[in-house]
Symmetry: C2
Subunit: 194 residues, 2 copies
DNA sequence: GTTAGAATAGACCAACTGGTCTGTTTATTT
DNA sequence: AAATAAACAGACCAGTTGGTCTATTCTAAC
């Protein structure tokens, strides 16, 4: 309780939403888990949907932080890009992995105008921006296209990992990323080829 | 009604599930859309979950059929693989595209033991098998790894397309596939290189 | 010690959920 | 024309949903 009821509520809700989905997790269930009164939820967030938004933002901040932290010790941005995929592999191997929340959110909130859908969309944007930043630092050309591709591969990896529950997708994704980077590098060194 | 009430129910339910999600679409809503009595549903499918399974199987059959049909006129299996991604692009451009159902299903049914989750999983298997078949026909080596990669890229493409609503992900996916195939080809022709 | 703000429990709400049961009507078959 | 089976409308069920309201208690700040 010291770190504010609000944050506690968010992290409890997050765990439940992750493992059981947004629609199937009732509010009552969250309150019970967090040992918090219903009015605390509604005073702080206003509605279940806005709680979900808070959870998504929290998870996004968390995930992007974790990802960049996990590659911060590498000096070469080229390696950092590949390191992201290693971090994904580590994530899939963790016992409590149960798929990417943001993909679940877009699936459960088909209306793109809904707040949760927007929050999930924003996360995708930030992930792509992270890749783009690294691509630029690596001085790879067409970093915009490249970063979209990398983000797409990461999504595919997440999506596949949810189904097969191995780190194999991340390893495959890394291999593909490696090939793409290799080519982007070659193109930069000798722009006449290809 | 001629093509059996059962099938009509499935296709109505499918449209609703696609656009509004599984949990949020109530049974009553489906019945209304299909102009069918509730008992018809329960006599034919037994439960909402089994209706969902039927819908997923129907959609899977449909999609795989459509994909292979769209590339059947191409003689080179190499081109057929790439053609799959063109078909995806076409799909994203269609007005009623609203994301891949199977991804939505795994997201909405987190329990992998649930019937809908299993049905969605089966679809992924069939899609991978389709790629593997084409890889083998193209006489590319390590067709198993390659086909998993292609399936993963396709998933990432679907996933991204749901969010950005353009055919760009499919075009990017195609480019990546092209690179992967190129390399698999080169490796086959001169196994010493790389 | 008083006061203000947050958090509490729990009653309450209308709407809706998936699902069952009944009794009747509509087709199809013989 | 009779019999069989499928589809029908609609009442009904208990359980759950997200959300509101009230009245009480806790916990700081001053």
């Amino acid at each position: 309780m010291p770190p504010s009821k609000k944050q506690h509520l968010v992290s409890c809700a997050r765990r439940l939403f992750e493992t059981e989905g947004f629609h199937t997790t009732g509010i009552e269930r969250i309150l019970e888990e967090a040992s918090v009164a219903k009015m605390t939820l509604y005073n702080n967030f206003g509605s279940k949907d806005m709680l979900i938004v808070a959870v998504l933002n929290d998870a996004s901040h968390d995930m992007l932080g974790r990802l960049s932290a996990s590659v911060s010790h590498l000096h070469d941005p080229y390696d950092q890009i590949l390191g992201i995929f290693d971090a994904l592999a580590g994530w899939y191997n963790s016992a409590d992995f149960c798929g990417c929340m943001f993909q679940a959110a877009v699936a459960e909130f088909p209306d793109p105008e809904s707040e949760p859908a927007k929050a999930a969309h924003a996360h995708l944007g930030r992930l792509t921006a992270l890749f783009e930043d690294l691509c630029r630092k690596a001085e790879l050309d067409d970093s915009e296209t490249l970063s979209s591709m990398l983000a797409m591969i990461a999504s595919g990896s997440n999506c596949t990992a949810r189904q097969i529950r191995t780190d194999l997708p991340a390893r495959h994704a890394r291999q593909i990323a490696e090939i793409l980077l290799e080519r982007a590098c070659a193109r930069r060194l000798s722009p006449t080829s290809v």
